[in-house]
Symmetry: C2
Subunit: 120 residues, 2 copies
Amino acid sequence: MPAYRVRGHIWIDRQGGGPFLGPGRIALLQKIDELGSIRAAAKALNMSYRRAWRHVEALNREAPSPLIITSIGGKGGGGATLTPAGYAVLEIFARLEKSFQRFLEEKTKDIQEELSHIHP
Amino acid sequence: MPAYRVRGHIWIDRQGGGPFLGPGRIALLQKIDELGSIRAAAKALNMSYRRAWRHVEALNREAPSPLIITSIGGKGGGGATLTPAGYAVLEIFARLEKSFQRFLEEKTKDIQEELSHIHP
């Protein structure tokens, strides 16, 4: 019998609103933390600066409290850092992803077992 | 605080292969069962007959045993019915979806709780 695998995607919406947090925005938050700059993070992710800025503004507006602090000007054009809320959100999403991976592994075992009992 | 909701998609792949079963093919199986014809099912789902046929062939080839039996010819152009394996697969997927909905509801509660404790 061929082997099967349960797969999936997961993200967080605002209730009655659009998407709040998924793998794309999480990658942006991580890159901003790593590189200390929205411009550098956007470049590293092959995203336009304008698009990265829109995500940052939306994240700050849609989160319970702002996730990214930006400082303007100076040499190199200002920086960006995560707030404690920003780090908390990274942790919350990582835990959610881990839990989802466990769910998928468990269901893969169930499905494999169930499909192996199928007869014509 | 705004309300958040965990959402997601789930499907079954063949290990090391492409997708085997997701909401689209499940809808096709259900319509074939309901209408007794691949042509009628395709029409009801706004899908080309050619495309529906390809899904049926792939499902029969990729499942542990065939899910759909077709009879050719006669008035009305032959019919299609699900095999016991076809019904079993519908049940297995329905159970998987139900379990995933429970997972999403549970995680929505967790996330809502966790995000409410975030401070600036």
